[in-house]
């Protein structure tokens, strides 16, 4: 496996992520697994990930404008972005999150 460069951010500070899933379905599990691996590999300690089950917190869906599931919201650094799906396409996720690498 190709060695990934060390991550660094233009804005600095941590990436704050919330992952909204609907129950522990295979799709949810896959999404959690993919995002955890991606964060560990690329973001090291520079992230905070919170996983929320919408079935347990249904009011959150409306509050956070969730329509699609799974949804990953990057609330910080701005701009806010929403990624949907199982995050199987790593490059797309990295691009979507706006992560910039030093080299």
């Amino acid at each position: 496996m190709k060695k990934k460069p060390t991550p660094a951010f233009i804005t600095g500070g941590k990436i704050i992520l919330q992952l909204y899933v609907s129950g522990m379905t295979p799709r949810s599990m896959q999404a959690i697994e993919n995002i955890k691996r991606l964060c560990d590999e690329h973001l090291k300690d520079a992230f905070e990930l919170e996983i929320i089950d919408l079935y347990k917190n249904p009011e959150m869906a409306s509050e956070q404008q969730i329509v699609f599931s799974p949804s990953l919201i990057k609330s910080l650094p701005l701009p806010k972005r929403t990624l949907i799906g199982t995050f199987s396409d790593t490059d797309k996720v990295i691009k979507g999150l706006g992560i910039m690498f030093k080299e």
Binding site: S22, P58, R81, T86, K92
Partner: protein
């Protein structure tokens, strides 16, 4: 066409006046209904009224999932129709959830579903015990998304979910180019599909509604005009009902004894309709005012539609011939409704007439003149419209009097109004204006009177400050020997 009520499918009344009549009771209960149409045709209003009336009239709480407008915009927009959404929300009868999908902020990275929407919907429904749901406009979820195949199957699942949930739902959809909706939602909603249309004919905008499909239920198949005004949405079913109204044997007066005596029954049957035609200045309005006066004197509420004169003007002019309607106007026994015919389309007028009839429950209705309504509609519609109006009056056993202005005294049958109304009216009185020996002479005669004998003589009609006088023609002594003056 009368629609049978005893349909097997349970129905949910929409609270939209006229629509429940066409659908035989409302929308299919516990099932989704698709309302489609182009932008600005009234889909959202339809849906809002469905929810609001559900709350106020059926005690059924409702959820509005708005994909386009924010709750605040929606509340403000329908405020002008007298719908106070804020209060309904505060009373926990209504819930509005604005679903904002900003494609520029969303990245698709693999498979997903609409479970977030389901959870929101479910939460909203359960939090107020909603029985009615509106999704306006669900197709917005497709906006800019790549995986439409996935979304389609999710929408299909959503409709099934709504059914399982047992809520009566309205789903709105924007009209597509070759299909009813852009995403072909009509394929998924199999129970009831309603199409709204907005078009401009002769510079007058008309809205129309058609029920494309209603599984397991009889429904009207025509296009029905509908109206959006300060009281919300109402639909005018133009197909006539069966001829099965009750008839009365009671005789009532035209308000003018000399005229009553021209008929065998000394007046006219309650609930009948009477047409007075004549060219300009033949005292049609005076005869109509007598009619109104006699109705008021019987202490029966009277509704007078005046399309040529304002109420003030009418009162003043009638006072000049000794007819004082003012006290009755004050005591609210008489209602005068004046408007310019060109203000709205024919449907709009007829809807207003119908609504006022419903509101005041009058015993007598006068339309002066009905011909001015006709000029604003296209000829094919006019007959059906007038027929419908007369039906409504008959069903409610309302004494009706229409005046009609004709232009060619010799050839009245060419006139559209006369042609359309005369066959429907029970009594037809003609007034004429002729020049004889350097003098204008008004005359009156009866063309027809259903179920009642009448004079065939041509009476001279004179007007002075005390009112109208009828005299039999001098040269031909009347066989009936009837009283002349009042």
């Amino acid at each position: 066409m009368k629609i049978q009520k005893n349909s097997n499918i349970p129905k949910t009344p929409t609270g939209i006046h006229g629509l429940d009549e066409i659908t035989g009771g409302g929308l299919p209960k516990g099932r989704p209904t698709l309302i489609c149409g182009s932008a600005g045709c009234g889909k959202t209003l339809f849906a809002v009224q469905f929810l609001v009336k559900g709350i106020t009239e059926c005690n059924e709480p409702g959820v509005f999932m708005s994909f386009e407008e924010t709750a605040r915009d929606l509340t403000e927009n329908v405020n002008s129709l007298g719908f106070d959404l804020k209060k309904l929300i505060a009373d926990k009868q209504l819930k509005i959830d604005h679903i904002r999908i900003e494609k520029s902020e969303i990245e698709e990275t693999g498979e997903y579903d609409l479970e977030g929407l389901f959870i929101r919907l479910n939460y909203a429904i359960d939090s107020i015990g909603a029985k009615r749901v509106v999704l306006d406009t669900i197709e917005s979820v497709f906006g800019g998304m790549d995986n439409t195949i996935l979304l389609r199957s999710e929408i299909r699942r959503l409709f099934q979910w709504l059914k399982d949930k047992g809520v009566t739902a309205i789903i709105t959809g924007e009209r597509g180019e070759s299909s009813l909706t852009r995403q072909g939602l009509e394929e998924y909603v199999s129970d009831c599909v309603i199409l709204l249309d907005f078009r401009v004919i002769d510079q007058i905008a008309t809205r129309r509604l058609r029920i494309v499909k209603y599984r397991g239920s009889m429904h009207g198949t025509n296009e029905y005009p509908f109206l959006i005004d300060e009281k919300g949405v109402s639909v005018l079913p133009i197909t006539s009902l069966k001829l099965e109204h009750k008839t009365s044997g009671e005789m009532i007066s035209y308000g003018f004894p000399a005229l009553d005596k021209l008929f065998k029954g000394n007046g006219y049957y309650r609930g009948n309709s009477c047409l007075i035609t004549g060219t300009a200045g033949t005292s049609k309005t005076i005869l109509a005012s007598y009619f109104a006066l006699s109705s008021c004197k019987r202490k029966e509420s009277t509704l007078y539609f005046s399309f040529e004169e304002s109420p003030e003007q009418l009162l003043r002019n009638m006072l000049s011939v000794g007819i004082d309607l003012k006290p009755f106007l004050k005591s609210k026994l008489l209602q005068i409704h004046s408007s310019r015919p060109s203000m709205q389309g024919l449907e709009m007028h007829l809807l207003i007439i119908q609504r006022l009839i419903k509101e005041y429950d009058p015993k007598t209705v006068i339309i002066d003149p009905i011909s001015s309504l006709v000029t604003i509609g296209s000829s094919s519609e006019v007959r059906a419209m007038l027929l419908r109006l007369i039906d409504v009056l008959k069903i409610n056993q309302i004494n009706a009097l229409f005046t009609a202005l004709t232009h060619d005294a010799k050839n009245e049958h060419n006139d559209l109004t006369v042609d359309a109304v005369s066959s429907l009216a029970d009594t037809w009185i003609k007034v004429r204006n002729e020049e004889i020996n350097g003098e204008r002479v008004r005359s009156l005669f009866i063309v027809k009177s259903r179920g009642m004998g009448h004079t065939n003589a041509l009476y001279n009609l004179s007007i002075n400050e005390k009112g109208i006088g009828l005299t039999p023609p001098m040269n031909k002594p009347s066989r009936e020997k009837q009283e002349g003056l009042l």
